[in-house]
Symmetry: C2
Subunit: 337 residues, 2 copies
């Protein structure tokens, strides 16, 4: 039985959305997992009481007296609040009492606590947040999604390798195509870091590196050289584009509501709206840590929490963390060239 | 009579799209301007012959024997080809024989030639490419759109000031709201350059600085503190987001074509498609140069060329370059704080 710890107190509408999402996950996802709700027992019990039909044997409650607020300074908060739902939840995994962690709380604090408590695999320069973008075809993984704002060329290479393992293990695509997000396809394009990363990636063995890609290629999910499964960039660019896309999807839906409200219920249109809704894609895994940590948007609705639990379960089932550890325990491909 | 020079040989489908766009401009825009077609006389005449009804008295042809290709190295090409349509067209303006220049040719070469030939106003740290994004409300100017990949904090402040004058003069909004594109609103967010730029912008007199904004705020065009008219970022981020948005618009339209093809002709839906089509917005002005240079996408259709001519005419009518020169001839606002 896979044990997924859910931070019941993180998120803009915690614990309501978190408990509702956990219940949705138990109801709708294939079995084989249980949920550990981490937080203050009384509000958790009060929310759970709203779902009298749910199988309580698949829930555990782990008491955590403190909560880290959305506006607290990440590192200071993690250090000052050992009894917070965040620190307690990740601590369960560190002690072998849990297999994965999901939180929609303070993103910076969740990143910091995951790295501090779980640790990072040997050879991983930096853990990275992998975000999923809907495209015309299969979704594309964009990383880093905002965990690392300034990145060296070597760190971008590390992200490429982490993304490649993730797509192979979790999305089942055997030879993931990797693109380096840039302002043009030619090899002399970009700033100094990106130009250096391009040269390192070209020489990197074991990666299906497609070369530089542009902003448009994230959306189409393809370039001349093949399908783009992973787009690599620093966390500043990734975060700006991610938030931009979420909002552009909402704009499009709004324009549609204004321009043709009668078509919103058609199956084809409902499918568009579903595809453009980030909550369909759930949380972003933090790749590179020794374990599984899935980070959700603070405004995650229950559906997004459920999908984050799905990603958590898949990551444990696929043994993702062990595969990443094995990949990075080898000599770094870039150094072999 | 305002004289707009159009690079007839630049662009992926030159001179066909360029001549068609010039003809559309003369046909559809308010009068008071003429067009100087710059390039090889024979192909230009051959294209013009397709429009027997157009008023030839509003066209001049300026012979330029050479063309700078889309893949040539910008600076080297500009120096090696003094008889290229690009260098000849900008030279007309430098000599006082033309008022504005429009090109859909090699972007890097157009940027380099504009800065070399026209020069930059005193006090302008770097000229910047201003790109227009459709939003739920009024379009937002994003700059830099790709001319300057690595930027200092002072350069970002310069872009903010250039954008502010542009929005005031050309878009008629008296007190433009300026946002600094970042990964969060709090003042400690961002990389070192952006954090420094935030502090400089806060102290910058004469700017309606709204603070840090996020990717989503470009799309909504508004934050709590007011309407966002200008979003400031380095050219790497701006270019990635710009190309991403162009492509996302096309994806939305494709999803709509697949999901509800029968509604495409409805007025409300046609309006969505028009709003999401970058060619509706025409070229991007290069702000900060001594004169008017409008840079179009290489794949610009005639409609985009027409809209670039519109922006060129408006820039001349509003005396934009002189206003920018006046703004920057004063002591720099940031230094007064």
């Amino acid at each position: 039985m896979i044990r997924v710890a859910v931070d019941a107190m993180g998120g803009d509408s915690a614990p309501t959305a978190e408990i509702a999402g956990a219940v949705e996950a138990l109801t709708n996802l294939p079995g084989g997992f249980g949920i550990q709700l981490v937080g203050k027992r009384d509000p958790i019990e009060a929310e759970l009481a709203r779902y009298p039909d749910v199988d309580r044997s698949r829930f555990e409650i782990h008491e955590a007296a403190d909560v880290i607020g959305m506006d607290e300074k990440p590192l200071a908060a993690v250090r000052r609040k050992p009894n917070s739902s965040l620190v307690v939840g990740l601590g369960l995994q560190k002690k072998g009492l849990s297999d994965a962690f999901v939180s929609a709380g303070n993103t910076g604090a969740t990143l910091a606590a995951s790295i501090l408590i779980l640790g990072v695999h040997d050879g991983v320069e930096r853990a990275t947040l992998a975000t999923l973008f809907p495209t015309a075809g299969e979704p594309v993984i964009v990383l880093d999604g905002g965990a690392n704002l300034d990145c060296s060329a070597r760190e971008l290479v590390c992200f490429a390798r982490l993304g490649s393992v993730y797509v192979r293990d979790i999305m089942g695509r055997p030879n993931p195509g990797i693109g380096l997000l840039n302002v043009g396809e030619e090899e002399d394009k970009g700033n100094a870091v990106v130009r250096e990363a391009h040269q390192l990636l070209r020489r990197c063995k074991g990666l299906n590196y497609l070369g530089n890609i542009e902003g448009r290629d994230i959306v189409t999910g393809t370039v001349d050289r093949g399908a783009v499964d992973v787009a690599v960039c620093d966390g500043f660019v990734g975060n700006v584009v991610l938030k931009f896309y979420e909002s552009a999807g909402k704009l499009f839906i709004k324009l549609l509501q204004d321009g043709a409200p009668d078509v919103l219920d058609r199956p084809g249109i409902r499918d568009i709206i579903r595809r453009l809704d980030y909550s369909t894609y759930g949380g972003a895994p933090l790749l590179g840590v020794r374990g599984v940590s899935i980070i959700c948007h603070g405004a995650s609705p229950p559906n997004a929490v459920m999908n984050a639990v799905r990603v958590a379960v898949q990551s444990v089932e696929a043994d993702l963390s062990r595969h990443i550890g094995a990949e990075f325990s080898q000599r770094e491909p870039a150094a072999q060239a």
